[in-house]
């Protein structure tokens, strides 16, 4: 079995355009409704028995979450990255906990960290976090530094630190305009 066989099969069965990512890895994007049938097809028809990974990426600029399901066929080390984009507003994805036992773990994590719902998924909501009241923390718009400032206090004793750039500017009288400042060192 080669990457080309899988690419062809995905194309013939689902009219999907898959491509080679690196070496033995195939990447294929699809509508979220297709994910479950494609995953079952790959698992049952083609022996992609091993669910390697499920990941989620927040593309806040496009207003979508991208879900990535990575499945592996041990016989000839083929990997398929099954990808789909879902809306960031009221994000929902099909519950696939029955497909692989650890899908439950992944779905719990993604639900908690990104706020993606899996209708019909009944696992306890709290997984890694406890008593979390902010927006799901792995979303790009979660302000980590702001959270830290609100939640923790800073030990005093380091207020005398200088920004090198500012220190030199004070000495030279250089007036740095705002449009330049965004290129200064943070």
């Amino acid at each position: 079995m080669t990457t080309q066989d899988i690419i062809r099969a995905l194309n013939e069965t689902f009219e999907l355009k898959a491509e080679v990512l690196h070496g033995n890895q195939i990447r294929v994007s699809m509508h979220k409704k297709q994910v479950a049938p494609v995953l079952l097809y790959l698992k049952n028809q083609w022996g992609f028995i091993h669910l390697d990974h499920v990941s989620c990426v927040d593309w806040i600029e496009e207003n979508v979450f991208e879900l990535v399901y990575i499945v592996y066929r041990p016989q000839d080390q083929l990997t398929v990255l099954v990808k789909t984009k879902i809306h960031r507003e009221h994000p929902e994805m099909e519950n696939m906990e029955g497909f692989w036992p650890h899908m439950r773990t992944y779905q719990r994590e993604i639900r908690e960290m990104f706020g993606i719902e899996f209708p019909g998924f009944e696992a306890p909501r709290e997984f890694i976090l406890e008593g979390w009241e902010e927006i799901p923390p792995m979303r790009r718009d979660f302000d980590t530094r702001g959270y830290v400032k609100r939640t923790y206090t800073t030990r005093p004793g380091r207020e005398d630190a200088w920004s090198v750039r500012e220190y030199i500017t004070r000495r030279t009288g250089e007036k740095l305009p705002d449009f330049a400042r965004k290129y200064s060192r943070d």
Binding site: L21, N24, P74, H102, F127, L129, M138, T144
Partner: protein, 374 residues
Amino acid sequence: MIMKTTSERNKQTTLFIGPQHPGITGNMMVKLLVEGDTVVRAETHIGYLHRAFEKLIEQRNWLQSFTLLCRFCVPEPDPMELTYARAVEAIEGREVPPRAKYIRTIVAELARIQSFLLWYGGQAGSAGLYTLGQWTVGDRNYILDLFEDLTGARIYHMYIWPGGVRRDLPKGWADKTRRVLDYLEKRLDDYNRLLFDNAVFQKRAQGVGIIPKDKALEWGVTGPPLKGTGIGNDVRKDEPYCAYGELDFDIPVYEGGDVWARALVRRDEIKQSIRIIRQALDKMPGGSYYNRIPNPMKWRLPAGEAWVKTESVRGEIGFYVVSDGTEKPRRVHLRGAAYTHGISVLEKILPGQNIADVSFILNSLGACPPEMER
């Protein structure tokens, strides 16, 4: 800590094992429903070690991230560095010099050995055999000494970075390594005498915590637990990286799927690791050890993604890394071996086991909480 509450069904009791307990590195809790001495249902609870590393990494640049990554798993930081470096190199298309590949191989294998030695301590300790742990953890220090000489640190080496490794091998390091390997090889017999020849361990380990062979792959079992079910999948052989493709080694496989088989696999793995390191030292190519990256503060990766896997002591670990073309990663997501072993697999195999074996089984699966919740 063990806390008891009585459930409604008066014959069954809920037991909490953890968050602190022997057997694994880090904190996690297993909530058990037991009837008598037998586990009826198990549920893993994590969240004691969440450090938001993946979130923090999104706010650091590509190089800064690598100092956090190694902390994903305390007993085994090097495969994390290695996998991340390989993922970044895959996205960027950066070549790694042959010498760096060999040095990486040696570091990865030394990391395996030291981690196996730590495991010996945990596995024997959870069976009440404390002497062996003293020995192996003591002997592990010889490997940490090697790491100290090579990288400047004992545990968190921060040595394998994108483009190669951070420093070249120091003078005399190869010979010192060979001497340590010779010593360890001799010690393996001593370990056997204390563990594998020991009736206590044999009786505790055999037939306990069985992972069925026909379910192993579907359950996401990898590493020694998988090899202990008779399936010899190993990323180093299947998708060779670093110098593994050029070195000769075997994948130990045992049937049975129980704690005993997993222990035998690990015992043999140490021998294979010693064999790999010796070959790598002999074949060590010359030349550069590092394909220099640009100024780290201005280093931008092209937009793209990579999924890269490495064989760690606990099994397969992988990094899914996404770049949006800026100085900082869009997403770095770890798939740890323990993510399946410590949660879904554990929950499947604990029912029917004896309470006293829970820690014992946990240890044999290589559960690593910091890796599960990151």
